[in-house]
C-alpha cells in the first residue's frame, strides 16, 4: 500500500468532473419534484443529452454548441413527458419510466450515426493568478466552464427556492396544487416549465459525460447515472445545498475508491466498490434525519382542475 501515489490535487479535480453530471441532473430533478412532479425519466433525458450533445459538437466542431443543443433537445424531450402527465393526466411513474426506455432506444439509434468519431474538448477556464497557483490551481481553477456553471447553478437554485417569489410559487404548486390553483396560479404552466428546466439540466449532465468525462459515444453511456441522481434528490431531502453534497460525495467516493484500489489499499475490493452508494446514503440520511421531511405534498399526484 502506498498512498503517496495518490496526488490529492488530481484526485479532487477528477472527483469534481465525476460528480458534475450527477449534480446537474439532480438539480434539475429537484426543481421538477419541488413542483410536485415525479419524473423518473432522468436517465432517458441524460442519454438524449449525451448523444445529441456529442452529435452537435462533432457536427459544428464546437463542444459549447454541443451543450446548448443537448439542453434544448433534452428539454423538448422532457416536454413530451410534461404534455402527457399534465394535459393527458397519465401516470407519472409509468410515463417517466417510458421516457427512460424511449430515451435509451432513441439515443442508441442516433448513436448509430456517430460511430467512434471524436469530439473537440472543452478548454479549461483560465483564472488570472488563481489558475497558476501551485496545488490549488490544478485542483480548483483548471476546469471547464460547465463545471463552474453547475456549482453556480446550485447556488442560484438554492436562493431561488428559498427566497424568490417565483421559487415560492413553485413550492406552493408542489406542496398543494389545489390551494395554489385556488390562489390563481397556473399549476400546469408552472409544472411544465419546471419539467422542461429539469430536462435541460439532465441534458447538460448527459452531455457532460459524452463530451468531458468519457468523451465519446457508446450505447448506454450514462449507465445508471440518472437513477443515482434521482436517489440523491430524495436523500438530500429536496434541498439544493444537500444535492451538491450528495453528488460530490458519490462522485468523490467513486473516484477515490478507484484510486485506493490502484494504490493497493488493504480494503477488500468489494467493500470499496459499494462504498460510494453506502456512504452517500448514510451521510445524507444522517444529516436529513433531524430536519423536517420536506417531500413536496403533491409529489407524484395528478392535478385535476
Amino acid at each position: 500500500m502506498d498512498l503517496s501515489t495518490i496526488n490529492p490535487a488530481l484526485l479532487v479535480a477528477s472527483l469534481m468532473i465525476s460528480a458534475t453530471p450527477i449534480l446537474l441532473a439532480a438539480l434539475g430533478e429537484t426543481i421538477v419534484e419541488k413542483s410536485g412532479v415525479l419524473n423518473l425519466g432522468v436517465e432517458g433525458m441524460m442519454i438524449i443529452g449525451a448523444v445529441v450533445g456529442l452529435f452537435s459538437s462533432i457536427h459544428f466542431s464546437n463542444p459549447y454548441l454541443g451543450f446548448v443543443f443537448a439542453a434544448i433537445f433534452a428539454s423538448i424531450f422532457s416536454g413530451i413527458f410534461g404534455i402527457m402527465v399534465l394535459y393527458f393526466k397519465s401516470n407519472q411513474v409509468a410515463t417517466g419510466l417510458g421516457l427512460t426506455l424511449v430515451g435509451l432506444g432513441l439515443s442508441s439509434l442516433i448513436g448509430e450515426f456517430l460511430g467512434s468519431q471524436k469530439t473537440e474538448l472543452l478548454e479549461p477556464v483560465y483564472f488570472p493568478f488563481l489558475s497558476d497557483l501551485k496545488f490549488i490551481g490544478p485542483m480548483f481553477f483548471n476546469h471547464d466552464i460547465l463545471l463552474y456553471f453547475s456549482i453556480l447553478l446550485t447556488l442560484i437554485l438554492y436562493i431561488f427556492l428559498k427566497f424568490s417569489r417565483a421559487g415560492m410559487i413553485l413550492r406552493a404548486v408542489g406542496e398543494n396544487h389545489d390551494a395554489a390553483h385556488a390562489l390563481g396560479y397556473n399549476v400546469q404552466l408552472v409544472r411544465m416549465l419546471a419539467i422542461m428546466f429539469g430536462g435541460a439540466c439532465s441534458g447538460l449532465g448527459g452531455a457532460y459525460i459524452s463530451l468531458v468525462r468519457v468523451p465519446q459515444w457508446t450505447d448506454g453511456l450514462t449507465a445508471g447515472t440518472g437513477w443515482i441522481a434521482l436517489a440523491i434528490v430524495v436523500f438530500s431531502n429536496w434541498n439544493a445545498s444537500k444535492v451538491i453534497l450528495g453528488a460530490y460525495l458519490f462522485g468523490g467516493i467513486t473516484v477515490l475508491q478507484l484510486n485506493l484500489q490502484a494504490a493497493g489499499v488493504k480494503i477488500p475490493v468489494e467493500v470499496l466498490s459499494m462504498s460510494p452508494y453506502l456512504v452517500t446514503i448514510c451521510v445524507l440520511v444522517f444529516i436529513s434525519v433531524n430536519g423536517k421531511n420536506s417531500s413536496p405534498g403533491s409529489l407524484g399526484k395528478t392535478f385535476h382542475i
Binding site: S14, P21, F88, S90, G98, V214, T218, T254, G264, S273
Partner: protein, 357 residues
C-alpha cells in the same frame, strides 16, 4: 390507454429486438451482453456472426439479442430463442454459463455454445480463445515502453479468464523490465464507459503510462488520449480508431471460422458437445497491427514472440514461476496444463493486491 400502449410497445421493441428474416433451414441465435456497436467484445462477436451468415447465405437464418444482462434475463432470452425455433444458440458472455446449462436442459433438441465458460452437457459446448497469449505480447510491449514503470490494468469481473490475462501480461512485462509494477482496478462490470474512463484516469493520475484493459468499450482509450503520452491496447476488437497512439496494438478475437464450422456441424447433423480453446496458432486470437508509436526493435521482438506463441514453441506460462504467496507453482521449464489455466485464481509472484473472492 395511449400511454400504456406506447409503454408496452416500447418495452416490446426493446425486449424483442430480434432480427428475423425468411424461413431458412437452420436458425442460429446469438445472445450478446453489450450493444453491437460497443467497439469491442460484442461488436466483434456480432461481426463474426454476420460473416457466418454471409457464408451460408439463405441457408441460415440468424437472430440476435443485444444488451442482455447476465442472469435471469438471459434465461428468458435464450428460452425465447429456442421456442422461436433456433437450432443453435451462441451465448457470448461468461455470466451466461448457468443460464445456458439450465435452458439447454429444457431444450435437448437445441444445441448451445457458451463462450468462455467451463460447464458443458450433451447439448452445450464451450469455446474460448487463449487471450493470454495475446496478453503476453501486450505485457512485452508494455514492459519495454513504460517510462514510469507503472502499468495500469482495468480488470472487469474476477473470474479465471481475467486473472489469467493479468498474470500473463505481468510475467512478460517483468521479464523485459524487472522494475515494472502493476496497478490493478476491478470495476465489476464488462462495460460501463464512464467507470472505465474514470478507472483509466485514476491509473494515469497515479503514474501509469500504459493502460491495459479487460473491459469492452473504447472509453479507456479516450481517457488515455485526453491525458496524452499514455499507450493502450485494443481489447477484443482492433480499436484502430485510436491508433497509432494511444492504441499501439490489440488483441482481436476471430470467432468467424468457429461459428461457420459449428453451424456447418448442425447442418450436417454432426454436432457434438466439445470444448474448444484456440490461440494465436489457430487464429482465434489475432494481434492487431503494432503501430508506428512502438519503436522498431520492440515491434520486432513482439512479432517474434507472436510467432513463437503461434508455433507452440513457447508457452506464456513456462516455469520457473511462483504464486503470489511465494509457493512454488511451475518448475524450471515446466508448462502450465489447461486444467490449471482454466481454473487459475491466484496472482503470480510480484503482483500486489488480492483478487476479490
Amino acid at each position: 390507454m395511449k400511454i400504456r400502449k406506447l409503454f408496452s410497445a416500447t418495452i416490446a421493441s426493446l425486449a424483442l429486438g430480434l432480427s428475423t428474416s425468411f424461413a431458412a433451414d437452420t436458425k442460429v441465435g446469438f445472445v450478446y451482453v453489450g450493444p453491437i456497436n460497443d467497439g469491442g467484445w460484442t461488436q466483434i462477436h456480432h461481426e463474426n456472426a454476420l460473416v457466418m451468415k454471409e457464408y451460408f447465405g439463405d441457408q441460415v437464418e440468424m437472430v440476435y439479442q443485444e444488451n442482455v444482462p447476465e442472469g435471469a434475463d438471459s434465461e428468458r432470452v435464450m428460452t425465447q430463442m429456442a421456442l422461436s425455433g433456433a437450432d443453435l444458440i451462441f451465448t457470448t458472455s461468461y455470466g451466461y454459463m448457468d443460464p445456458t446449462i439450465n435452458v439447454a436442459k429444457k431444450f435437448p433438441g437445441v444445441k448451445f455454445e457458451h463462450a468462455t465458460g467451463f460447464k458443458r452437457s450433451e447439448n452445450v459446448s464451450t469455446y474460448s480463445a487463449r487471450f493470454y497469449e495475446g496478453r503476453a505480447i501486450q505485457g512485452h510491449i508494455a514492459g519495454r515502453m513504460t517510462k514510469s514503470n507503472i502499468i495500469g490494468y482495468i480488470a472487469s469481473v474476477p473470474i479465471p479468464e481475467v486473472v489469467r490475462g493479468i498474470n500473463s501480461a505481468y510475467i512478460h512485462a517483468k521479464k523485459v523490465n524487472p522494475d515494472v509494477e502493476f496497478k490493478i482496478i476491478w470495476i465489476y462490470t464488462w462495460l460501463d464507459p464512464a467507470k472505465e474512463a474514470d478507472a483509466a484516469t485514476a491509473l494515469i493520475e497515479q503514474g501509469a503510462d500504459v493502460i491495459l484493459q479487460h473491459t469492452d468499450t473504447t472509453a479507456p482509450h479516450a481517457a488515455a488520449a485526453k491525458a496524452g503520452n499514455v499507450i493502450t491496447f485494443g481489447q477484443a476488437a482492433d480499436m484502430a480508431d485510436f491508433g497509432p497512439k494511444p492504441r499501439v496494438s490489440s488483441i482481436i478475437d476471430d470467432w468467424a471460422p468457429y461459428y461457420i464450422a459449428r453451424t456447418q456441424a448442425v447442418i450436417d447433423g454432426s454436432w457434438e458437445s466439445v470444448d474448444t480453446w484456440h490461440g494465436i496458432g489457430d487464429q482465434m486470437v489475432g494481434i492487431g497491427e503494432i503501430s508506428s508509436a512502438v519503436p522498431v526493435d520492440v515491434k520486432i521482438e513482439a512479432l517474434a514472440l507472436k510467432f513463437r506463441l503461434a508455433s507452440g514453441d513457447y508457452h506464456p506460462f513456462t516455469g520457473p514461476l511462483k504464486k503470489q504467496d511465494g509457493s512454488a507453482w511451475l518448475g524450471d521449464g515446466e508448462v502450465a496444463n489447461d486444467g490449471d489455466l482454466a481454473g487459475m485464481f491466484f496472482y503470480v509472484e510480484g503482483i500486489n493486491g488480492d483478487i476479490p473472492q
